[in-house]
């Protein structure tokens, strides 16, 4: 017998206007919208729900392994489909830096559910938004507008970009120090466009960690385990508070992140990135002016505090 909670099972609901599907289980919160004939949408939502129900339990079964970096995996690598997506997404970074598959968990969940949506072949266009990490389904000729939130505390759109089906982008993810996860860096938000959401998620984490000013006195850091005893980051110091920074310092921190993002881009790991700190924005791989300009009406927004899908 134990405290206030019960074992809450997976939950499905549609938004009041009936257009979007909301799936939730534990920390997983998905907002899903598929576009097409009503019967096709309903069938897609049904597949998403079927795939979603056992998903968290599958993940939890492998959680201890997923909280360790790949080189430390004692037994075989993770076997579940979501776990494999996570491991594959962080593999390109694991030789150089400390990273665990958990860095890609949100994106990998979005990809897995998006794959379930796509399985029927009848949907033209869909997205699965897992707290700001978004997987996209785009059939040839389709497009989706993605809005970018620069300052998570103020969820106004700082810019938007349009993903067309011929782009090699099916994932958008945002990482930073304001979300649910800890960050080793000081970026307010780093949004990455990549081949899928898991890869975007892992890359955004790595770039956001790189936006940093090591040893700066205005930055207070705390070992992750002091905040969350079971964090995959263990004793590594995560950013707790960032005091006032000068404009030069902001630019210097951003430059570290941009350098990291450029390296990833040249390795083909990401397509583009938008880096935000203290209301200053740098982009990698986007045409000039595509971020930072006033938005029109994007279908999606990606930001540190979950996301909204303004209609």
């Amino acid at each position: 017998m134990s405290g206030a909670a019960r074992r809450d099972g997976p939950i499905a609901a549609t938004t009041p206007d009936g257009s979007r599907l909301h799936l939730q289980h534990g920390p997983i919160d998905l907002v899903i919208e598929a576009f097409g004939e009503p019967a096709a949408v309903a069938a897609g939502y049904r597949r998403a729900w079927d795939r979603f129900q056992p998903l968290l339990d599958e993940l939890v079964a492998e959680l201890p392994a997923l909280r360790r970096p790949l080189p430390e995996q004692r037994a075989a690598e993770p076997t579940g489909p979501v776990a494999r997506r996570m491991a594959d997404a962080v593999r390109p970074f694991s030789a150089d830096i400390f990273i665990t598959p958990m860095a890609a968990v949100a994106g990998a969940v979005a990809d897995e559910i998006c794959a379930a949506l796509a399985a029927g072949g009848e949907l033209r266009r869909a997205y699965v938004n897992d707290g700001g990490d978004i997987a996209l389904l785009l059939q040839p000729g389709e497009r989706l507008d993605v809005g970018l939130v620069a300052v998570p505390r103020r969820p106004v759109l700082a810019g938007k970009t349009t993903i067309v089906a011929s782009d090699p982008v099916r994932g958008v993810a945002t990482s930073g120090r304001h979300g649910r996860s800890f960050s080793l860096g000081i970026a307010d938000a780093v949004t990455v466009l990549a081949a899928d959401a898991a890869r975007a998620d892992a890359a955004a984490t790595v770039i956001a960690n790189a936006v940093d000013l090591p040893g700066h006195p205005a930055i207070r850091r705390v070992p992750a385990a002091e905040l969350e005893p079971d964090s995959d980051l263990g004793g590594r110091e995560v950013t707790a508070e960032v005091g006032p920074l000068g404009p030069d310092e902001v630019d210097r921190a951003l430059a570290h992140g941009v350098a990291q993002a450029e390296r990833m881009r040249s390795r083909g790991l990401i397509v583009a990135a938008v880096l935000c700190l203290d209301e200053r924005i740098r982009t990698v791989g986007l045409p000039d002016g595509s971020a930072g300009r006033g938005p029109s009406e994007p279908v999606l927004a990606s930001g540190g505090f979950g996301s909204r899908a303004p209609r």
């Binding site: 206030a4 019960r6 074992r7 809450d8 549609t14 079971d230």
Partner: protein
């Protein structure tokens, strides 16, 4: 690891949460060493087709058919609303809406119940403990066995005398047991001189480690009545073993009617009417709710003047779970034999006719106290309005039964309350959502906080509202 750390059990991840922080979902947090739900306000969709009843706020596992929920009316529940103190402050949400064309007000709060408990119905014929025996959780008295009902045993757990009337530990353990039962979690209990139980609302009870699968089809006598015709011609004698009334086919009215000849069987126990026996054994967890493991132990030797070698005998419990088949040898002793196929059908039919055994938990609490001041400046007016059924009371949107008499004392099926809606305060007392819905003009008439009424649209626009 720090004493103050809490391991959350709301989902399979089981986050370890430090004081002042939340788990990975941001829904549950550690507040002063206690696991507390920090959810935003829960809002329910309402459909007209159900005549004002509230639909589940979201489909649970397996029962969602992929249909799109139409944009229906919306009902604000007390789950996650928080509470106000001191009590004269208006309740956290006093919401106006038009329901079926009538301007209504719903006073939404989370009530703290010092006076509360649960009544538990356990579908079983097994003996769980004598009436008035103490029920314990983790060694502390948390309630008692009250009575037997149709196919079931009843417990009363909690109540003010356990929550605040005993030792500090008794109160805390009682509160934890009630909270778990109300939130549809399993709870381990033991009855003095009785059974060890694992109970969970909506699930079969576990009694002394055995999951009870079926309610009995009826008492032993009723079972004879139901199946006499199906046994006729296939077996000479049937004994249905039951703790309440053991039935004997050849002596029973049903057997007489079918002109089944006497068999010379002699059953121990106290004969009530022909073919019906009380007290064939002691209550227990064996055959038919008795302590019998060997059914022949309730039989005396067959009467040699009537019985004959080769006579066949079926003995069976009231759920079909226990059964045995015998043939008398030359010394008129019953010898076990495999159950013939033509009898197997009737045995299976008894099992098939038993309803699945369940545990049901009704939360009962009184909201007659100062909480009413959050709804109106004239608290007794709210009570009167409820008593006159002008005001509808709901618990997390679930319908309640309001007791006649003083106060606002109600009962609710915990499985109809949204998941995780029950909480607690260290008093110890339980916290549960509570909503009072009435016509806007009735609300004004009973001295409601009219200046605190907000349109439902404003509530739905709040960033901390969680919708199903």
């Amino acid at each position: 690891m720090s004493q103050d750390t809490v391991t959350c059990d709301a989902c399979p991840i089981r986050c370890v949460i430090k004081p002042g922080r939340t788990g990975s979902c941001d829904r549950y947090g550690n507040v002063d060493g206690l696991l507390v739900r920090v959810d935003p306000l829960l809002v329910l969709e309402r459909t007209r087709e159900q005549g004002g009843a509230v639909v589940p706020f979201a489909a649970r596992e397996g029962d969602w058919e992929g249909e799109l929920v139409p944009a229906g009316d919306v009902f604000v529940t007390g789950a996650g609303s928080g509470t106000t103190y001191p009590d004269y402050k208006p309740a956290p949400f006093i919401v106006s809406a038009r329901i079926d064309g009538v301007d209504t007000v719903t006073v939404v709060t989370e009530a703290i119940f010092s006076y509360c408990g649960v009544d538990v119905k356990i579908d079983t014929d097994r003996h769980v403990g004598a009436e008035r025996q103490v029920v314990r959780a983790r060694g502390e008295p948390v309630g008692h066995v009250t009575t037997g009902q149709y196919g079931s045993q009843m417990l009363s757990l909690g109540g003010v005398n356990h929550l605040t009337g005993g030792s500090k530990r008794e109160g805390v353990v009682t509160m934890e047991a009630l909270l778990a039962l109300c939130n549809v979690e399993p709870v381990e209990l033991s009855v003095e001189d009785g059974a060890d139980l694992v109970l969970q609302a909506g699930q079969p009870p576990r009694i002394n480690g055995v999951v009870e699968e079926r309610m009995r089809v009826g008492c032993g006598s009723a079972t004879i009545g139901m199946f006499a015709k199906q046994w006729f011609g296939h077996v000479d004698e049937v004994v249905v073993v039951d703790d309440h009334i053991t039935g004997v086919l050849s002596e029973h009215q049903a057997g007489r009617y079918l002109e089944i000849p006497a068999t010379g069987i002699r059953v121990k126990g106290r004969r009530s009417t022909p073919g019906r026996y009380f007290n064939v054994a002691n209550p227990g967890t064996g055959w038919g709710g008795t302590d019998i493991e060997d059914p022949l132990s309730i039989l005396d030797a067959f009467d040699p003047a009537v019985a004959r070698p080769g006579l066949t005998l079926l003995m069976i419990g009231t759920t079909g779970e226990h059964h045995a088949y015998f043939v008398l040898d030359d010394e008129l002793r019953p010898v076990p034999r495999p159950l013939p196929d033509d009898l197997r059908l009737s045995v299976e039919r008894i099992a098939e006719n038993c309803e699945p055994a369940m545990t049901s938990v009704l939360f009962m609490a009184g909201a007659g106290g100062s909480l009413r001041a959050g709804a109106t400046v004239n608290p007794v007016a709210l009570t009167r309005s409820v008593n006159r059924t002008l005001t509808r009371v709901t618990c997390g949107g679930a319908p309640v039964y309001v007791w006649p008499g003083g106060g606002i004392t109600f009962m609710v099926d915990v499985t109809r309350v949204p998941p995780g809606a029950f909480g607690y305060v260290p008093t110890p007392a339980l916290v549960a959502p509570l909503e009072f819905t009435m016509r806007l003009d009735d609300y004004a008439a009973l001295g409601g906080h009219m200046d605190a009424v907000v349109p439902i649209g404003d509530v739905l626009a709040r960033p901390d509202v969680r919708r199903g």
